[in-house]
Subunit: 333 residues, 3 copies
């Protein structure tokens, strides 16, 4: 496996094999599998879980890693082609990225959406331009529309909790002080659809997921016997749900317009998951979230502190699935 | 040893055994003792010695580590229970800390005092709330009132310098541009008392150490045959001293009131250790300080650059004693 | 080798031996050569290549490293002797540096020029004061006037590309939004002269390299049969050139005067390397640059994206030559 950029790039069987490998490495550790191997981690945006779990995962497999965070001890990066670099950014990604790749055996790259031009973000213009500069194995640590490590961790979590393969998976929009990117919602619906689930996207008006994201999830559902639809009717969506996957994202009806987005969300304070959301769900319905979560804005304390919440399990599984990705990518090279 | 949060949590014999282990690891290194083990280091406040020496110590024992510094490449953490997280902090410690703990074999946590409410700081309200979220071995990298790694390093330094067990140990308040926490003075007086020394806290009016800190040190002295008292009389305190341990801390008479504290300390410029402080001490009296030290504010160049100063030895011993703590904590798990 | 501070400190044969060792480690890796060894990296200024390549190099040799960046998770450092430390800096280098050195087997230190007093910078006053505090092997990660790791990487790159030993090496000043230090130009001319090349410093009026830098390069040329001269005549300099080494630096005619420097460089926009600079050079003339490079300010896209540009090879060779330095320094201790 040369690149791990999106679950959709893999055959369903390959995804299942990664999950199996992750379980095997948990029960039968291979502390020397990646001895001498080096992972470079380039963060153009902040991180907690990704930053810690990739370093820990490499160490658990006997390898090592280094972290580069432009703007934190390293100068800022320019990403625009043809820029006259007379501003704050001292280094262009066209130099910086291939240079970092030349120091390591695999590179991880985080580059969030710009959040201004929906078409450009959906096309992964920025991430793809950077990815094209890398001739080493490359891992997507979250791009504009994809967070495959999170999706794989969530799938493993669903399996461990024995959530029915054809169960109801409700991705619900929740509130946040400002617009966030589409990567996690896009990856979550695709993952659940590929697992074979009944996927419902629950969101207020103005926050519909863009057609390319819904279409991609529907193609995955077609392979696996799942389904994908969307609604603004909370009661209908939650009835019988096995999973409520809470996630914040920006208004797609006014993408890139912070003021308009802010006016919309100011009326949506009740989109904070509370205990009463689970009145009509399956009794053991789970609350999932990729973290970080704004407590009492996106999800209430009463839910996060209840046994429903499996957010820490999801986060722990970032480590287990990423070790499988690293093992698959680097063991034999 | 599951937790290393305060020297007072250990029996005196356990402390002595850690010091013995530290010495043994210096003479007989065990470069593979912690092979495959991972230490997570979470810094809610800045660090130099702790940051470097824990990474170095894990490496010298064959293990590895990762560092998380909220606000530096990682979003800021919220610590308040029940907070409505609509501000700058994106992640609550109730998620962030258990997640990080799940990636490592032991976690180190630094969280300084808030410096507003003396009772809350003395009760370690903040640190304990975070510590209660960790189910892995946990190391205190400095909390509101305790810095056990520093205390252990200082004890080892006293032993190496053959400072008499019953010698006079003067903890002297020294000046600083602003109020600093009570962790190091509290840990230093407790350590010296537990070692069996004649401990004198020398400080101007308004800077008395709070009764719980003095009482804890007196309990330690009762075990070991030492003593603990306080005074504002510099000449009396320093006469015959074997150690002057200089330390800055905030006024306890107006805790949390920066303006009142500033007025007090503006009259106390002469609380900067100079050569003439040693006129009546033992001839080989040592100057100790946990570092960082404000030169010519807290301690004058003439003292820091003289053979009296053992501040670098103390700092080096951070490495040696922490290796013992890590070895004791992680070798057999 | 106890210190690697400047190529001029080594005999020419020692430099050649380091280059040979770098090539040997590329073809015959020694993944356990530095097992258990620790490199401390102290950055008083930002970094990308140095930060990543030293960590990667230690890992490839089986060792490990830690990074300290004052102001990023660590307090700011004071460097002035005798300072009354009542400002922002909480730690003096007189404590911080020896303490860090005590935790590792070798220390790397980056401390750029102050850029105010040319004589002080040429004398390496600041770096030398810090270096004198270190009793462990020490590596210069870039000081006021020297960047020996870059010079060694450049030399290896020239050899790999089979640039004639006596070929014409043109160090050309190029523009930048502000004055940059003299370390790389000084090291580049010295390196090329020591290699035996015909070195020409091409720069506009006001940007002559200071006599101590030119004299040092001339002494190297005298050893190796090379030569060193300077000119402001671009056409003359570039005719027949085998290498154009582009580099930004501050005006030496008004060193430390940002306004005067800015007025000078505002008239020098045409000092940006473009394809037409190569009209009279050797056909296979190379473009070198130490990176980071301001695209379309210092060097145009058309050159950086052409096969002439070997900037990524130079950056990759930072890794290979530094592994040789680390191996020579640490293998036998």
């Amino acid at each position: 496996m040369k690149r791990f950029l999106d679950l959709a790039d893999l055959e369903r069987e390959e995804v299942l094999a990664l999950l199996e490998l992750a379980r095997r490495l948990e029960t039968r550790p291979e502390p020397q599998a990646l001895a001498g191997k080096i992972l470079g981690l380039l963060f153009l945006n902040p991180s907690l879980r990704t930053l810690a779990s990739f370093q820990a995962g490499m160490a658990r497999l006997g390898g090592s890693s280094f972290v580069i965070t432009p703007g934190q001890g390293t100068w800022q990066f320019e990403t625009r082609r043809g820029a006259v670099m007379s501003g704050a950014a001292a280094e262009h990604v066209r130099e910086g990225i291939p240079v970092l790749a030349s120091y390591c055996d695999a590179l991880g790259l985080r580059a969030f959406a710009d959040g201004k031009d929906l078409a450009a973000d959906l096309a992964e213009t920025g991430f793809n331009a950077m990815a094209s500069l890398v001739d080493k194995p490359l891992i997507n640590l979250e791009s504009a529309t994809s967070h495959p490590c999170q999706a794989l961790a969530d799938w493993k979590t669903l399996d461990e909790l024995e959530v029915p393969r054809s169960g109801r998976f409700v991705l619900s929009w929740v509130n946040h002080p400002r617009a966030l990117p589409l990567a996690v919602p896009a990856s979550a619906v695709h993952m659940a659809a590929l697992r074979g689930m009944e996927v419902i996207v629950l969101r207020p008006e103005g926050f519909a997921l863009p057609p390319p994201i819904m279409d991609k999830a529907r193609r995955a559902a077609a392979q696996s016997g799942g389904s994908v639809r969307e609604t603004a009717d909370r009661n209908e969506a939650l009835a019988g749900a096995h999973v409520v996957y809470a996630k914040e994202w920006g208004a797609t009806s006014c993408y890139g317009d912070a003021a308009a987005d802010g006016r919309l969300r100011s009326e949506l304070k009740h989109w904070c998951v509370r205990n009463d959301w689970f009145a009509q769900t399956a009794a053991d319905c789970r609350l999932m979230h990729c973290l970080p979560v704004r407590r009492n804005v996106a999800v209430a304390d009463e839910v996060l502190d209840s046994p429903r919440s499996v957010v820490q399990r999801e986060a722990y599984n970032r480590l287990t699935v990423q070790m499988a990705v690293l093992h698959r990518m680097l063991k034999s090279i």
